[in-house]
Symmetry: C2
Subunit: 496 residues, 2 copies
């Protein structure tokens, strides 16, 4: 069967085992692997590398699109294969090594990694490992459920290993739109002018002789770990929907809104799901990951087109979507993450960007990455690409965590990923704060009043009022600013 998928006859002789293929990767190399939000990662070669790392000295720098599925980051971390990892991960075992300082993790905006590789500011990539549904007659590589950074990895690497996954639907062929910006100084505008723009070609175009090995696999993507909407996430969705309806009634938006981006995760997925029961229609998405909610909105007749860099679904949704992929295909594009997340296009299209915060402060600064200011969770991902350039930058979070021991609204965030300049709207289950055009003191009033949990509101007001008495554009009691985090560390709760 794999011969039908490898349509370039000369390349058929390159089929080999994962272990043999992995031998092209040597100690100290930089490897670029496919995979974006647990979709379309190379599945066999990483395991072969992890096995080898237990037998021989083998450390690599691993660059991917974003997170990998099938516990691959775990397996590679536990084999101590990884010396350096970028630009994103979500794995607890890897995270532990990152926080211990064993693995050097470089937390990058997802649109920027290949820009840095292309200009030789990081890298070079020695070997690319890319999952594909097929190789075309001319040697073009057809990706699977994600594009991520795969195309640029293959173009920039010296050698390319392709994993042909026979279980990935061959209906995926044609869904991808691979556009690679020209090198400077001859770079041109990226011609994407709406979510439906196709500006590239449907496969990764490299000289076939760069493909040094082909591995045949059959393992499916991991399903997403998104949890179903609960009362809190439904409340968040409802506040945002109400706000957007008011924007429509004020004439600032139409009922088709602007193209939507939603970060990965349960809250953003729930917010998107909530649009099913809204007056909006003919919606479009220009996002990075297409989750269950994308297909829920298609099925509800609410969504007309979705552009992303990957499709990551729950097990249930995977089973219902992939057999019917031909029905959705004309309304879907998967792009390189450089294009799905490109500042140029995000600003041009005017996205409504919905991303998740770990904590927010009373002035609207956002921590998306660091637990207690020190311990990496997943990484900034694409949230910065979108928040910094969107028409409307929305951050969502539940107002408390750990049964109330943690307030997600604090006087001063313990790490800043998104500054007050890039945050328009904050939503918790308690309410929504519209921060547009406001000075810091006004923002604090809105955030405390609308977003903080009732159990923390008095303490936030107490801090804010005493800070204002000291003065300043952004009033703080600097010696107390991080005291909420200190209390959490020492007493297990942010409460006094």
């Amino acid at each position: 069967m794999h011969r039908e998928r490898i349509r370039n006859k000369e390349l058929q002789s390159k089929v080999t085992s994962a272990l043999e293929a992995s031998r092209h990767i040597k100690n100290g190399m930089t490897v670029g692997m496919s995979g974006f939000t647990r979709a379309g990662e190379a599945k066999a070669v990483p395991l072969a590398l992890a096995a080898r790392a237990k037998e021989e000295p083998l450390k690599i720098t691993l660059i991917t699109g974003a997170s990998l599925g099938n516990d691959l980051d775990k397996t590679m971390a536990e084999a101590h294969l990884l010396s350096r990892r970028m630009p994103f991960q979500v794995d607890p075992a890897l995270r532990k090594l990152i926080n211990q300082g064993e693995v050097m993790f470089v937390d990058q905006h997802l649109s920027e990694t290949v820009e840095l590789l292309r200009s030789h500011q990081i890298g070079p990539v020695d070997v690319a490992v890319v999952e594909a549904v097929a190789i075309t007659e001319h040697g073009g590589i057809v990706p699977t459920t994600s594009v991520g950074n795969s195309a640029s990895f293959a173009i920039l690497a010296e050698k390319v290993i392709v994993e042909i996954n026979l279980e990935q639907s061959d209906m995926l062929e044609g869904i991808h739109d691979i556009y690679i910006p020209k090198r400077r100084p001859h770079r041109e505008p990226i011609p994407v002018v709406n979510v439906e723009s196709r500006v590239g070609i449907p496969y990764i175009d490299i000289p076939p002789e760069k493909i040094v090995a082909i591995v045949v696999t059959t393992k499916l993507d991991s399903s997403s770990t998104v949890t179903p909407p609960d009362d809190d996430t439904r409340a968040i969705a409802s506040h945002l929907s109400e706000f957007l309806q008011n924007e429509v009634s004020q004439g600032r938006l139409t009922n088709s809104l602007q193209p939507l981006q939603a970060g990965i995760g349960s809250i953003a997925n729930a917010v998107m799901h909530g649009l099913i029961d809204s007056p909006f229609h003919d919606l479009t998405m220009y996002s990075e990951v297409l989750q269950d909610s994308t297909f829920d909105l298609f099925d509800a007749g609410k969504l007309v087109f979705a552009s992303g860099s990957s499709i990551t679904l729950s097990q249930e949704r995977y089973k219902s979507v992939f057999p019917r992929l031909s029905e959705y295909k004309s309304r879907l594009i998967l792009r390189p993450q450089e294009v799905s997340n490109h500042p140029e296009i995000i600003r041009r299209l005017g996205l409504i960007a919905i991303n998740t915060a770990l904590e927010v402060d009373i002035y609207g600064n956002i921590n998306s990455t660091h637990v207690a200011g020190t311990h990496m969770m997943n990484g900034i991902g694409g949230s910065g690409d979108f928040a910094r350039n969107a028409y409307l930058s929305v951050f969502v979070t539940k107002s408390i965590a750990k049964g109330g021991a943690i307030s997600s609204v604090v006087p001063f965030v313990s790490h800043v990923d998104h500054t007050e300049h890039d945050v328009d709207i904050i939503v918790t289950e308690a309410g929504l704060a519209d921060l547009r055009g406001l000075a810091p003191r006004e923002r604090a009033r809105r955030i405390i009043d609308h977003c903080a949990h009732a159990s923390y509101r008095d303490e936030l007001n107490d801090y804010f009022e005493r800070a204002v008495a000291r003065g300043g554009h952004t009033p703080h009691i600097i010696e107390e600013a991080l005291s909420w985090h200190t209390r959490l560390r020492e007493n297990g709760s942010m409460h006094r």
Copy 2:
């Protein structure tokens, strides 16, 4: 003489006094005024408004391009005319009212203000007041030494007041390139593909009947307050030049580098000036403000073209440049700040962006705006537009301030304007830290070793080592993280 400058005959009847013109502006209105980095601001109407505010209830929201010259922000602030001010200022009297909470200051990325106005997320602008060298036969407004937000103010405002400044050189006509992005969803790529691209028209095109009054003025722009290079700024320039030469020798840059952006101020100006004695040649600038150093580089034969949004010179340079403007004109473009600072173009052209930090932390986060975390200095200006999208994002600062009482390198910045994700290079007089591709622990090592002042290095190392012992991707001793600022507040020095 002013009749020669007002070439549209019907508009000549609109000439009136500043006071009469100012009557179009009423209590509670939002006013958009020209002016960017002390260049090309409306000079008479603001004074008339300030005078009226002493006699009648008059408060306005004032939006400009950036800072105003001729002490206008001071005069308006002291008359308590301003209730709200955006997106930038540099005036001590206004700053005082901002920090006291009397004036609500909205600190915005300079590229974004008109985007927000255009989509009605802020505003609307009731009256625009724009300084011009001329009005064309068809009623087009020719700006003076800055474009800033003037074009969009005039287009979006209900009424327009023009100040014809007879002392501004009529040779400025033709230097401007006014391009206004189309409204979404029909927005197209901005066709700027190199620093020399002219993509618009040389005047602001509005229906002439929107011009309700014309005031004739003769006051010159204020001269810039940039101080000459000193030993420290020369050392900063030298470190950066050496780094760039190494980039050339590594093949990552050519001797023409990439288009340069330099923030306003003495350090960035000194760094640019330092390129005169460098091996680089055929340099280009794609910046916001063109300072003395731009013309020094022209005169030294180092610079081939400069694009900006304003020309702001010292008194001496003003006298030498403006009489010879025709010699420079073919190598200059002034653009709307939305275009000079546009993420799309900054990323496309691949700028080397050089901006000034107030303080940096050991992980590479930057505070550009807040003294001691609370008191606004000037505002973020365009630094975010550039740093977030540049090919290379450089921040410069002296390593100490106030005679050593303040270290510009601290464990944790007291306010974040630019996150670690957007900072590639930090330079002080002590040295340069290249942070590209590094994890936080590695960044800390470089910043402490290369950028910190010797007198603070031991204390920084002590903090960092104890933090690392606690663990985390970005190690901190959270209860001590802001203690340097607390000590400064309480003891007058960051030293223990």
